[in-house]
Subunit: 225 residues, 2 copies
């Protein structure tokens, strides 16, 4: 606590204000003058607080346009310190291990808890991944989106924020150099989607486990080459 | 990428330098003059880069003493955005749900992978929690330390960084108001520790599952009061 500046304390107050007023992603915050008055601190301190919350991805500052609530929901860039892990091969294996543990359970929860709106979005993402695969294009980001939407379907707020961190970690920080698996991905995603849509939790869980283990085996075989 | 400043780019360079030189937690970085020369940027830009990495808990700046590598291993404060989640009761339940899914598997991996040094530290923490409980003192932080060390025993680097985030999230951000459970914690921790020590993965997994579900049931009963 010894290092807490005026700016840190103003950042806490600003957080409280954001929570209380229920700002949504993309909404604009009051300007520096108004925040200075509302928080009872100098404009310099307001600016320091805004920068601190921007660095935590709670808001973003667009020069000249103002300050807005971030879409990133306060999830930091590289929140779990992957960029400091030197052994990228081991990082890939550890991230995959977390996926085998967590994602089959997420698929089961998704089948149990998804709303019709959630399922519609999941179905669209399933189609989009499939379209990219048919065109033999890179589908990495849409694949992350599919798994992230599945986490959103689980209705566990923490999973929703954690899964993209884990999935993107594999592509951004870890040594995943295996070629993309096309046909099996289409089949597995479709099976996961249909199980979730029909509320078949056990099937969803097993389809996800198979999907991840299939990819792990390809990863391990890739290492042996 | 449009918003990347000179400081951001210098921060990336500094990260590379930290990884390449293999600095350990607590080690001191070169001073601003030296970094300015090594990175080929102005001292102002160095200072900006240092502040950015400090805000990510990769290093910390002690006024007058210099800049050091942080013990926090680049895990951000509130990395997953818990402070923005308004429903603290739901957050508690979601965090507990992740613990049931993840920690029994961690216990099994710990039993399989822990080194004698890991086990010695785990045993000490088990003793320390027990001593606090016998004195009827608050053992929240030591409990987090026990579960974090178990994650370290699993040898999954990501789990090591994730588990304290989840466990501390429950006490810091969520609405966990259940009184502490004393006797059952002593018994469960001891059973988990002994299973890990003896390499009994299945027993470790089951002991952890029981430990967490026992606490969940108390939490649910607490809600009904």
């Amino acid at each position: 606590m010894e290092n807490r500046t005026l700016g840190d304390r103003a950042a806490d107050e600003l957080m409280r204000l954001i929570r209380e007023r229920g700002y949504r992603a993309g909404e604009k915050l009051p300007n520096e003058y108004e925040l200075s008055a509302q928080l009872g601190v100098s404009r310099n301190t307001v600016r320091e607080a805004l920068r601190a919350l921007a660095s935590r991805n709670i808001l973003y500052i667009r020069q000249g346009a103002g300050t807005f609530i971030s879409e990133k929901k306060g999830v930091a860039d590289d929140p779990l310190g992957f960029s400091l892990m030197e052994d990228r091969q081991k990082l890939a294996e550890d991230l995959l291990q977390i996926r085998y543990i967590v994602e089959p359970q997420i698929a089961a929860l998704a089948a149990q808890n998804a709303t019709p709106e959630d399922i519609a979005i999941l179905g669209d993402l399933c189609d989009e991944v499939e379209a990219l695969i048919h065109k033999r294009q890179d589908f990495t980001q849409k694949d992350v989106d599919f798994h992230t939407q599945l986490a959103a379907c689980s209705k566990n707020m923490v999973m929703s924020n954690l899964i993209p961190v884990i999935c993107e970690g594999i592509t951004v920080f870890a040594a995943m150099v295996v070629e993309q698996e096309f046909d099996q991905t289409v089949k597995s995603h479709r099976e996961i989607f249909e199980s979730v849509r029909d509320g078949r939790a056990a099937d969803a869980q097993q389809a996800m486990l198979f999907h991840l283990l299939y990819n792990r085996n390809r990863f391990i075989e890739g290492k042996d080459l």
